[in-house]
Assembly symmetry: D3
Homo-oligomer: 339 residues x 6
């Protein structure tokens, strides 16, 4: 995947999302004429998949003094790569520069990494649970603020999802969206078959014909109805049975598959959605349920941020640390120089 | 609290964060010349505190046709108020308009509400746990993407927090930040007392002198050191003992209070941070531990989104519903007309 | 309920189902010319609802010597009443006679009571769980040997069921069967509506028109289909959704009720079946789900026998007991003289 | 074991224990002149040991038209063998005939199999727990209705029990009963030794002399008392210590064995009873407790029926199925043609 | 209870059981000519019943300088009373004197109190569980080193036991021992009745005739045997059924009571032993089992020491404390001046 | 370890700590002129490490008649060795003599073994948990009555502790005490560094300079303070952080180690105390935390006595036993003749 050009908002560059006490600290340092060179290490609270480092790099590229112009000291930024696995407590990002240059960005850097790592790691868990038997499609945008929905999508792809649900997310992650329809389409057409026909009639060939089949009738029955009309043009059906009707069960998928096969619709793929998480995907995988794709929403979007913290380990090349922290930098041969 | 003027980003107005299938649905409807008047109800998966409705209102004000100019049908938007309690499944927002007008915003509306409700509700739980004995200060920005950090802060205040940690968040929520310092200040000054003196020397009187006292020495010892230097100017101390040293315990607060009192520093307040959540706050409250303020970070910032969904309940005044949903609108006398 | 005339099979009268060691004991007593008058008390291992006492009375009426003709001693039989509640260990049946007269029937008496008490008690638990909001219909015959299926049905009615599923059971219990159809009827007609029409055409007015609606289509959809054809003649629908499709859920019943009401079929009753037990019935009751009748099968038929034992407490008016048993008869004022 | 000639009661042949709705179905089919050839598969809810298939075969032999005389279609019955292990959901019985011929027997067939399978499987679990170190003797007749007590005994032997407790059960299962005495014998003789002497004096040599030794005195003490009188004629003692006295424990058996051996009664076997189940038998087996036979009562008799259901899978050679069931017959190479 | 004259061993007075570092501390202080007046508070880790304070008082009486002769400072000792309830952390003993005078006794004082409090508190729990329906007799000496067995007995009486098992313990606690016999007596006489007769023949009238009845025969049987011989001279029987035979159960006591009463031995009391603890005593109490006395052994003797610690709270009237402890003395109005 | 000369107190020799009923039994035997030769086996309730056998041997040496002078029978005493592992129920001590000779010592022998075995076994568990990475130092005297504190220390060394805390215990166990100081020393000197200097100035070279560093300041800080003053003379620091401050954690030890090393104090050892038990030691061991010694207090001192019982198995060479016990002696080839 080519790294997308992350756009950093001006307010972030101004330090607006920084904790106020960092502004005060920078101001006190200025008035006291204190601005030592420091080494800041960032690490996460739990094991995970790194994500957000590219966005952080873009941010630092905007705000750090270029080394040539910085009379005081050389700036160095080191980090692991996007998508790399790491351990709790391991340095994932290291910044060496005068403290005033980076003070206002500690909050934002920690925040970018905490969110993106959590989403990528959750996506990875789903991908692992499917054991290469099916695609995982991230569909969680509706559960999360639109300011970050495209980043959720991007992180899902870093974690291994094959595609994502939103326009901006697909663009950010460099993936085509999967053909799919909301329940509102059959509801407005009053009929799933009519909705499917209209979908097929108007959309380009690049959009797979995958029809949601639980809106009005029994899923097996409706799958056959749609298949009989679209026939070879039908790429798949999506089962999204609400929990009020028992949700999508392994036996339901088997039954739909069985009935499609008996009517010679072996080419029709089955996609499922509704409350899928690694545990439920694993259950389907272990039973060899013939699913082509799992649409995963809230498991990824509600992943608890993997809190990233910054530790000041050296000041003017002297080892420092607050109580409770091991002093000095950890040897981290996997870190690559980013800036 | 006066409602802040929520700025809606142009890309949201263009529908960029929308699920792609909504773009396709709108396009199919256009080509089929179908655009019925619909009633859309939004409800959340769990009980909570409403937050985000003002931002949604600002979004809809930008994108819905004004009723006068809309030849087809009247637009109505109804909702509960910011900060109001609601039950799972209860309508919290109702939109009546032609479907094409709202199609591209369903994802964003659900997302705004899912995130903001979760944060406000988590903040409320902390506030309730303190039972009016202490302030709750939201300090979670570093755990969440900077694009939404100010909204986390805003939602925390809606949930009852007295103040928040970021510059933009304080502005959005209309609150002054609490005087406070990061560990980097004493680390850079090499000494907590010197850091405290510099803090006091350079910052305006509107900033409370609250000094973090666990960086180098025992908390009780350092509290006395700082108090003896700043004396009446010291507003409070902050205990942030890392978990590696056992975290902040009830007996530690008692001991610090006791020692401050014995040296006649009864005026010095005690603030605590580090892993506080409603359960731990409740434990302190039940033991009457003399805390003036709890700084709460990840409990609020990692609150799992309270998934909001949109149900299409009426189309051209006819009751509709997908399988598994009760058809027709629920009577909701608490809804107020927003637009 | 009038007590049915229980027919006792000749082999039971001959003592064929008795434990062989009782035959040996009787033979040893005969050869030793020993045949004392004894007092035998029967009690159950757990609390319950008495059932089977009428059948036991019929058996003893066949085998005990009539007192007039018995030169040795007077025969007495005392017991609680059919349907009465009792405690674990409490005497529910007391027989006073020469031991040889009753020796061969101890096994059968314990067996009749153990089975029938268990079924009646389980039925009572279901009835209690419905709290008078709905009927309980016993439908467990298919889970139990046909030699005792009618007794399961009889015991269910003693426990409070309003009707039962089998021909012989209905006769034994003196109840009319509830109108109902198996899935084989729609399967053979290929169509639920056709099956319903045939059912209505050929059966007498005493049979309620209750149609099973989950065979081919969604339950809500099929309920409307059937109601539109049979209209006022339709008494009810039965939901028997298989567990592979999530079983019958509270929300499904609400949805069917809601859709029937919106189409003005308020008179159509809803019956449910499939894995119902007191816990699940209680859940529906607590949620005020509008169910008219619960068909309960295996919960009643698989009730674990409430083991009844016989204790020899007096021999020739002398108190005796084996180790571990309290000697002597318990005062039991509730016992009524049966023979 | 030779299969016993199962006698089918006339009322079963008349369909009296059938669910009433099957009578109605047969009647509607007659009036509509509908009677397709069908394939009915029977399967059980849990894994188990097949039992009852011989009785079902006897029933079908009485009621199915012989193929020669049946103008419409050939009758076929296939099944697994008595005593064979099977999996949940696997076909254990398959009937192919016109539906009207079998309609009234579905309830009884399911009932016979559900009960008998449960008993045989529970017996097998006890036999497995003893790991060939001891015999299992079924002694549950007193916990179950006398109409089926002999079938419980028969099924116990199918499951591996070496003998059973009732006269009719022993005959049905083709086994001799084990010599044994009830507590009433010593109670009536007032003395265990006198009871043992009378037992020995009057019963034929084919009855083993096994004496129950917990009626009046300590088990070890009474075992020695009895052994000293009967000496070589004593086959064994039975320990049935009531739970009020702690039940039979492993150390008690060891102590009795030890004391018998020290007095040179190594030939006297030890039988135990009272609440034994596979778990308790396994505990004794694992500790190498020297038990010759376990008398098992309620564990087998209270085995929860293993619910057997019938699925209509083909009608006039066309595949059918109700929702939630996989359509079509499963390949079942282990099925043997029975009729 | 009159306080017994506690004899303090010379080695304790010499400080032999003191932690060596206290000897070093005293030596360093001597060489540095430092010996401030201090306030030492003793408190326990868990709530309990005070015991050992009299022994501590005797120890301090031997080692503390009398105030008149002490040129430096006045000696004060304050404490709660023997048998008084206290809370965790509450001062139970306070010593004010020059530190060198008490340094070598801190270990012993803590040790005396930790052990004695634990035993008294455990005894109290048993007494409370019996709710005044029966006596508790402490019988734990055999589970604990003979150097402290009499103190276990003394503490048991402080906790509410009516009597104890050892000679020295009875003397220390000022109680008469309860008439009782070990199993060795019947074993040596080969017969419980003979042992009972010899017991009755040779012991003075002040010893109750309580006979252990589980050595050879069934408890109920042996109780009657003994009662028939000793008749009115028999005070009671003791049931000590080993766990290998199921232990003493509630129903066994009922059965023995019942059989004694039926033979007109209502005057014979029942004592029980073997694994009794508060939970098991409570079970018997709740069931109204007619027990006259519980012999409790290891529950009391194995009570985990309630660790008592000493805190140095004032030095030369100045408040001091180590980290983690609240500084200064707690107001404790319940403390009485002991010395 | 050379066995210490255990001094047996005269009152034990007089039988004062014996259960009174043993005095009565001896008196009855004397008056009946009964005094058979018996075999008494002692065994423990749980697996463990033998301790106390040397003290028992010293006791028996004082009280048993020497075989030459005993006209009646030969005296034999057999036992396992001090420190040997044994199984529950296995004979650990066997005494063969006339019963009257040993009757009064059964209580004391059981008591000595029950206590000492428990302490040695608990010590062994701590030693095992450290897996040879660190010493275990027993420090429990203050939790247990001074009459037995030296025996606790002795048993700890039998279980593998390298040293103990008390003077008398060190002498009994033949070990030198470890250099250490109580918190009272720094409290009295008002300063940990001054206390350390005085400790170093006045104590002999055989006492290691190990300084407690948590009294006033942060442990890491104070460790450096002390090391900078004592330098090469400092053997180690002891961390005893109170639980109110989170106790000693693995990361705290790492941090102290790290900071000492960075200042070139690699020679300073780290000792820890405060609530350590096998589980917590194992946690440190598994994490390779660099601890030199664990001071263990209440885990060893509060070890529940491993109840030892005496069984009379032979009387005049005839096998006897009470109900519930296997009769006769167990073959025990590991027993060695002690007397």
């Amino acid at each position: 995947m080519t790294t997308p050009p992350f756009e950093i908002r001006p307010s972030v560059i101004k330090g607006d999302p920084a904790d106020t006490y960092l502004h005060w600290t920078k101001e006190i340092m200025r008035l006291e004429s204190v601005n030592p060179k420091v080494l800041l290490d960032f690490s996460a609270a739990r094991d995970g998949i790194l994500c957000g480092i590219e966005e952080v790099k873009a941010l630092l590229g905007n705000v750090l003094p270029s080394s040539e112009n910085d009379s005081d000291s050389e700036v160095e930024v080191w980090g692991l790569e996007e998508g790399e696995e790491f351990k709790a407590g391991e340095p994932i990002l290291r910044i060496i520069c005068n403290y005033a240059s980076v003070a206002l960005y500690e909050t934002s850097i920690c925040g970018i990494l905490s969110s993106c790592i959590a989403w990528a790691t959750a996506a990875k868990e789903c991908v692992d649970a499917a054991e290469n038997t099916a695609a995982i499609i991230s569909h969680g945008a509706r559960h999360i603020h639109p300011n970050v929905a495209h980043l959720l999508d991007y992180a899902s792809v870093i974690g291994g999802c094959s595609s994502v649900s939103t326009n901006l997310g697909s663009k950010t992650a460099g993936r085509s969206p999967v053909g799919n329809m909301p329940h509102s389409l059959p509801l407005i057409f009053g009929n799933t078959v009519d909705a499917a026909v209209a979908f097929d009639k108007h959309l380009g060939v690049e959009v797979q014909r995958i029809v949601v089949v639980d809106t009005f009738h029994d899923e097996a029955e409706e799958s056959l109805n749609v298949a009989e009309v679209l026939r070879d043009k039908l790429r798949g059906v999506r089962l999204d049975t609400p929990i009020e009707r028992g949700g999508v069960t392994p036996t339901m998928v088997l039954e739909v598959r069985n009935k499609l096969d008996q009517m010679n619709f072996q080419h029709v793929e089955i996609y499922v959605s509704g409350g899928f998480n690694p545990e439920k995907i694993k259950q389907f995988t272990d039973l060899n349920i013939p699913v082509h794709g799992y649409l995963v929403g809230s498991y990824i979007s509600s992943a608890s941020p993997n809190d990233v913290r910054a530790d000041l380990l050296e000041i003017e090349d002297k080892i420092v640390s607050k109580r409770g922290r091991l002093p000095g930098r950890l040897a981290s041969p996997r870190l690559e120089r980013l800036i």
